[in-house]
Symmetry: C2
Subunit: 655 residues, 2 copies
């Protein structure tokens, strides 16, 4: 650790390869200066040089040849002992630089022809659910598991913002280019960021700008009502209010990214209040932003959170599709409909939201949750790269059609970062943030290979005595950790068997008789939600035929989503030949064993191989993960044994 | 209503009968002055006179004949047209005065020979779970359902304490003579009441004193540790600290009542930390209080709140008995062991705590909960007089032995009062506070007759146009409301099927897999907790044989406690010939119907018969009660139908 803060995946050692070279940088401007400063610092440390007469090992140059320029792209080549990064724009040069850092010595080995590197997804954004004031229930960071906010503390902008700079550098190095500074649930103090406290946002923007990151702001749809008594998006005074307010924002922050809006969702205000559509609502803000090049991220997370659990006809999974598909084509060009990756809410296992494939005339961003609300809250190791990779690779029209990554104008992660010394509470959760950025840039990357990058940068050669052992250990602990987490928690895609409110730990019926629309319908005979067209809520019919057919069929439906789409008897036979009930028992016993093995593996690492504070933090969290996994196993198994009366085929203890 | 605050059971009209008489008061002192002021005010309003030459209709006199004087007793007689109240002590005169108020015109009708009125229970106390600071989770009043505290507001003693005087008058009029001003969970600010902020307590004591009410204070057992680094009750420095601190308390408040202590319970500090017993702990404080005549209320609510739900051998119901019976005889004379009426925690239906009968050498106070934590939170009508009457009349050794009321040195109610205009949130919940005082004075009173007193005082003749209709309506709504509440909530004594945390509304499994020791063990075959000696936790064996035998037997156990003592199949036949599962369905349908009838009855009251604000408040709460009862019915029935698979014999809808 450097000082009190862990350097994450950019310890000084990670820049050894570039820092020991003779480097030439051609071009100017803020982002090029950032690259120059990075290289100067690294070369100062590792003996390289920047500038001078050459010869050079590494050349980074802006070549403003093409029009229009391709903003983030860079071209990497190596010939005659010189590695060359060329970019149309400064941002490309910055990404090219960090790519060379990532390659390390491999960037200076042999020769390779010019290859353009272009992000698959243009807007790669982290959103912070950070509150300015400490919220009485949610605290400084809603669903935050890494301490306070790096931006805000107890009602004010932090006096010391040095971590924002370090954070921006980490984000840029994995390709993130946009950041929203406050919670989508906009409370009273936070609403003032847009107006009276814009200077705070500008101060953050100033620190993100050198790393090519634009700042966005969550705003309350009802903001104009304070002055006007109405927020009706079709009222000309409201339009003028937004235009005026937005003009002031851009006067203060010329490269402001835009607004993020959670409207008519879980109590947040929205256009429904005035009988207007979400398109009316989004377009009102979009019109104000358009002259300045800004965008609205309009969240599609709209559903009835006061559902009657007795009403089996209403299905929360259907809600986003039902609300938004009729509006396809009605949104302005600079509206980005932000859709959660699954139809419910960031569960460990959900099908991909059918809405993503149902808005051909609308720009869509996919939202994932790096903060581990439902995946262990950064007390459990749960590497989410494989989940996101599956989501991005999902082909809604079947293998002939484009994958989700090809449909998304943006990828958004709810940040998992706080003022914790390790940034993410669980040190290994840093990998999720890194993987998010990398998969947003290139969704076809193998998430295990991304993990390798992260390991090499974070603990890489020179930073540890036995990199091979460490790498093997980290892979053993992390590669399959999402599926391990899935095994000991809610089974077969049924979801939401968590403690209400804080969402940590098991409570099978916790949400069963609530207004939240999250049910499993377990009875003495079976479990699961019938979402078929034939006999259920019809949600399966929201997919294009390729998947609609698969999900509709209790036989074809993938096991891991069986209970999401079907209510089946406990004796239903899965594709592997086992019954649902035995699958529940088996996976829960196996999941706990796997966590035990993860813990043993970590504790077998020789002392000193990693920073002792980090080793201790991980060990302490693995202890908690094992305790919690045992609790999950015992509750889930006891619950289903009490309901089904079916004994475990292997006679293991169920309470 | 007078001004903004409802007069509860002492509207001016309630004093019409005494206020229209010629009154003589003989005696002096603070409490006699209180009586004199009451009578002067009433006579000023209704045409009577106080003093003068006579003849008199009403004579109140102190007659200090007997030694030692019987502090609270008064003797009432009427002869030759003169009603006479005679008392040894001023307190007796005060209680006699309020008794005459309660009798109204009947006190001045005919003749009756002298009869002494003596409280069955000496210490009749309300305890406030009021915090000085607003607690982040529990708010100003823990488990308070009537707004803020009448004493404290946002960290300080209220500037306007006029409601404390009005409250003291209400309490005295029903016989309460002790009051604890702060929460048994003593947080940091509240701990300072004992030391730096004693003036606040003295200010309250000054207002309670004219009504014969002594002030008590909840203290932290760990208080000495702030100065000494230890709270070990056997450390002489700790003893000296308590002696010193207590001396200062009495120097400030000469009639201070004593301390209330929740030790080693739900995270509160206690003697276990130093390996000492609860007798050691209680005696340390008692020794400091003894020279000044004060007492310690030492709560017996000690149990393992970090129980493993998998461990069926541990039974929270046993805990108080297990902890305290071995200490019988070890407590100082001025220690009062404060025992909750049931062995668990203020559930709608529990057996009487066996500890009450198991401490012959210890003074015991019984604690009930007027604040309706588990009985509808003052949103539901739930008149608790019948429950308390059953508790006080329970004879642990069988009908030959004394009842609980005969064993109790004190009766304590957790107050249901706040700064709400109606005092108790639900206006009809005022009756619970009134009934508490009256039953503490005379436990043999019929709770329905107590309700009559409360109705006559609150809405009595002259105060309403049709007292007969109003009385009939209130009886229809209130008399059986506790049993109605029981019908639509947790069945057959099983308890605790409430939402964790706030405890309002149903959640059958909410506490089932938690560390709180509150389980029902429902599975597909049956439900209930086996607490027998033969096959269960042995709790039934904590009772004297008369009841131990009854509770031990699945056939003799009263139906309403069946699931508290036994785990039975759903088909188990109750004493009325029905099965457990059908009983669950029937009572839940019936309970909702009863609430519907209560609501209809109330809404049929002609406008203007009671204060419109009160009528509206009650109507609004009855709407919520019906909504909630439906929710209870549907969840409980759905839960047990899903588990048992048994259909309702009458084919009613179960979800």
């Amino acid at each position: 650790m450097t000082g009190d803060v862990h350097p994450a995946w950019l310890p000084p050692e990670a820049l050894r390869a570039v820092g020991s070279r003779r480097v030439l940088i051609q071009g100017g401007g803020l982002l090029v200066d950032t690259v120059r400063a990075e290289l100067s610092r690294a070369c100062g440390r590792f003996g390289g040089t920047v500038g001078g007469d050459g010869p050079f090992d590494l050349v980074l140059k802006l070549s403003n040849g093409r029009r229009p320029p391709d903003p983030d792209v860079f071209v990497l080549s190596r010939d005659a002992g010189v590695t060359v990064v060329r970019a149309d724009e400064p941002a490309g040069l910055l990404y090219g630089f960090f790519h060379v850092v990532r390659l390390g010595e491999a960037a200076f080995d042999g020769a390779f022809p010019p290859r353009p590197h272009r992000p698959a997804i243009r807007r790669r954004m982290v959103q912070h659910w950070d509150n300015v004031d400490v919220h009485p229930v949610m605290g400084q960071v809603e669903r935050g598991y890494a301490g306070g906010s790096v931006f805000w503390h107890d009602g004010a902008l932090r006096a010391d913002l040095s971590r924002v700079t370090a954070y921006a550098r980490l984000l840029a190095s994995c390709g993130v280019n946009a950041l929203c500074v406050n919670n989508v649930n906009v409370h009273a103090t936070e609403a003032r960021l847009l107006t009276g406290r814009l200077g705070d946002v500008a101060a953050i923007a100033d620190l993100l700008r050198p790393y090519g990151i634009r700042v966005h702001l969550s705003v309350s749809f009802a903001a104009p009502a304070v002055d006007l008594g109405t927020a009706d998006p079709l009222d000309p005074r409201v339009a003028a209010w937004w235009a005026d307010t937005t003009r002031r924002v851009y006067a203060t922050i010329p490269d402001f990214g835009g607004y993020v809006v959670k409207a008519d969702s879980e109590g947040q205000p929205g256009p429904f209040a005035d009988g207007r559509s979400h398109a009316d609502g989004a377009n009102a803000l979009a019109a104000a932003l358009a002259p300045h090049g800004g965008v609205v991220h309009w969240r599609a997370f709209v559903y009835n959170h006061r559902q009657d659990w007795r009403d089996r006809g209403t299905d929360r999974a259907r809600a986003a599709h039902d609300h938004f598909v009729p509006l396809d084509g009605a949104f302005g060009d600079n509206v980005i409909l932000q859709v959660k990756h699954g139809p419910i809410d960031f569960q460990t296992r959900e099908p991909v939201s059918p809405l993503i494939a149902a808005m051909p005339a609308t720009r869509v961003a996919v939202e994932v949750q790096a903060t581990q609300e439902y995946t262990g809250q950064q007390r459990h190791v749960c590497y989410l790269g494989p989940m996101w990779s599956e989501v991005l690779g999902f082909a809604p029209w079947g293998s002939e059609g484009p994958p989700v990554a090809g449909l998304a104008a943006g990828l958004v992660a709810v940040s998992n970062v706080g003022d914790d010394p390790f940034w993410t509470g669980h040190p290994l959760a840093q990998a999720n943030l890194y993987a998010f950025g990398r998969l947003a840039w290139d969704p076809r990357l193998d998430p295990v290979a991304v993990l390798d990058e992260w390991i090499d940068l974070t603990f890489g050669p020179g930073a540890t005595a036995d990199p091979r052992l460490l790498r093997a250990t980290l892979h053993a602990v992390m590669d399959d950790s999402w599926r391990t987490y899935e095994r000991y928690t809610a089974p077969l895609g049924v979801g939401f068997m968590v403690r209400p409110g804080h969402h940590y730990g098991p409570d099978v019926d916790g949400y069963e008789y609530t207004p939240w629309g999250t049910y499993h319908f377990a009875d003495r005979d079976g479990v699961g939600v019938d979402r078929t067209r034939a006999t259920g809520t019809g949600f399966a019919g929201q997919y294009p035929p390729a998947w609609s057919r698969v999900y509709e069929s209790v036989h074809d439906c993938p096991d891991e989503l069986l209970l999401f789409f079907h209510h089946v008897p406990y004796g239903h036979v899965l594709h592997d030949g086992g019954t649902v009930i035995q699958h529940i028992y088996d996976t829960h016993f196996e999941g706990v064993e796997a966590v035990g093995a993860m813990r043993d593996r970590w504790s077998a690492l020789p002392a000193g191989l990693v920073d002792p504070a980090l080793a201790a933090r991980v060990a302490e969290r693995l202890d908690e993960q094992l305790r919690s996994a045992v609790e999950w196993r015992d509750q889930i198994n006891a619950y289903f044994f009490r309901k089904s009366g079916v004994r475990d085929a292997h006679g293991r203890r169920i309470h």
